[in-house]
Amino acid sequence: MMDADELRDRVHRFLADHDVAGDRLAFLRARFDAGLAWVAFPEGLGGLGAPRVLQSVVDDAFAAADAPDNEPLRIGIGLGMVAPTIVRHGTQAQRERFLRPLWTGEEVWCQLFSEPGAGSDLAALATRAARDGDDWVVTGQKVWTSMAHEARWGILIARTDPGVPKHRGITYFVCDMTAAGVDVRPLRQITGEAEFNEVFLTDVRLPDELRIGDVGDGWRVARTTLMNERVAIGGGAAPRESGMIGVVAATWRDRPDLRTPGQHDALLRLWVAAEAARLAAQRLREQLAAGQPGEEGSAAKFAYARLNQEISGFELELLAADGLLYDDWTMRRPTIVDWQDRSPGYRYLRAKGNSIEGGTSEILANIIAERVLGLPPEARADVAAPWKELPR
């Protein structure tokens, strides 16, 4: 088994042969080909079959050498969700075609899952994919698609058989975002900007080679994607007072004029809650590293959504008159969420999305209740009936 020393050694040998100040793309492609991209992936696909926990050893060694990175924040969907799905469910040809430019950032990915009529109940989706010779013809509407306006590819789930129960009639595709009939429009959100898009698909022709997994098996493939989404959202090591609590703690220390007894109590409660969430996330990372998987990722996302909302709401009231102001309502297209440098009003509004995006807090509570605690499922009328007979 590959260990940390062996990996460090490989990075150093790679750095001896490749100039970190040279061509960025050539460097990243070579790093992929050397198996030093995502070390847990198989050899030949950017990895070495090493334990996943050793990824940070490699990343740290490259960072220490000031090597160019693949701008992970810009290609988070591809790295976090698409790649694990393609590795697990794709054909060898698909892996070889897509993974390298995904990792280097040459090809940006987006996720075409949610629809106006299918949010929490994602499996009820109505976008239709009909077989036509060697192609599929796709028609429908997707929503909340970040990076769609920059993406080369999208992961798409569509209904291929309306006559069977909803989870069984779905197929998973790679959507060519440059194909005719793909129309991407910005979706302006409550903060004034547009991180996300609506994507209208009208008779989009996708060759069958772009199908991932079997026809009708798309829900199972999508679960791989969604599981990795929650891991991505809940992760990240953090020192004390990182995140929003650090911002309000700094304000509290700098502005004695704002302090009231009630807000002092509220601040201390939030500080304790933030510390508890931080330590729980730290323990979760230790569990994952020790190979003790679980649904705790759902718990971390659940906890942070509430915490961010409570802290940002507190911050506005603490600031009193200044809390009435907002920095900028201009319509922009940000690629990352810059909550630290924006105004408190932005933080308050953006945090409202935290309990909706990537699974609402209510759905996460269901997941915890059923999969962790083993409580019985809700009584449901929609599981056995054909999709086309469900009320919409």
Partner: protein, 363 residues
Amino acid sequence: MTLLYSDVEEDLRSAVRQVLVERSPWTAVLARAGGDEPYDRALWQALAADVGCAGLAVPEKLGGAGASWREAAVVAEEVGRAAAPVPHLGAAMATAALLATVDDGWADDDLLAAVAAGETTAVLVLGLATPPSVAVPTSVRAANGALTGVVTGVADALAADVLAVPTNDGLWAVDAGDARLTPLTTLDLTRRLCDVAFEGAPARPLAGPAAAAHAWRAALRVGAALLAAEQLGIASWCLDATVTHLNTRHQFGRPVGSFQALKHRLAELWVAIAQARAVARYAAGCVADEDPDTAIAVAVAQAHCSPVAVRAAEECVQMHGGIGFTWEHPAHLYLKRAKSAAIALGTADQHRAALATLVDLPG
């Protein structure tokens, strides 16, 4: 510092749980609750001496097991899970005080060795509601090797052989038989309080004034960390019992646990308990390592775990419905222990007030 449990800790947990399940089922705890013998001395003997829980944090050269407060915290979790009527908290705080005297060049090696072996139960004499970061109380005075004064609301002293008494003048050992213990009728039926009166009780010095003040602070920190672990155990039992009940109880033709109104409350409780486990582990790790962050860690642990244990016990009563309100169901034992534990060694509010100073968030 890891926040996970080691294999050794899991083995210890199994051993402790086995003793508690066999010798102290809730029916036995309930039967004892109304009686004149509030503490189960045989059970404590089995845990302290036979399993070796009393000496976990004591170094081997002083007669202990050479483990740490981290392992002792695992025992506290199980004691909380069983709502066991044993003086684990009071004994651990006395042990912490004795260990601190060693650091300061004082030590009653014989007493410490006997305590570590589980042969003698020493309990620290302090009011259970003592808030964090207070100085040694002045209600007991030493003169000519004898103590005079009263400490009210002391936990676990009814199960003690020796009382470790902190005063302004030092830390003293008094044989329990030389003090007058007046049992109190308490909210918590499983950790009983008494007033401890000294009327010229003969006392052996364990430490001078400075070392006693140091021992007092060490005992409060260890006590807060272990109490947080105990609260975690209480909360875990309450959640497990409630989930079991909701899976079996049927109303309206379906298991009560399939109703989202209840599932979501239990999911939130589980998240809070997962956080409680992390903060309690961190606090135990800090006291074990004498980490500079200990004061903050134990204040966070108490501020978080106190309300979580209470909420878990309150949800347990509510979600059991009528049966949860009866004497014949164990839920009330946990509710009473949880609510009392939330006041013990400082309320959550008092620990938040301590944090305001510790982390520079002044009012």
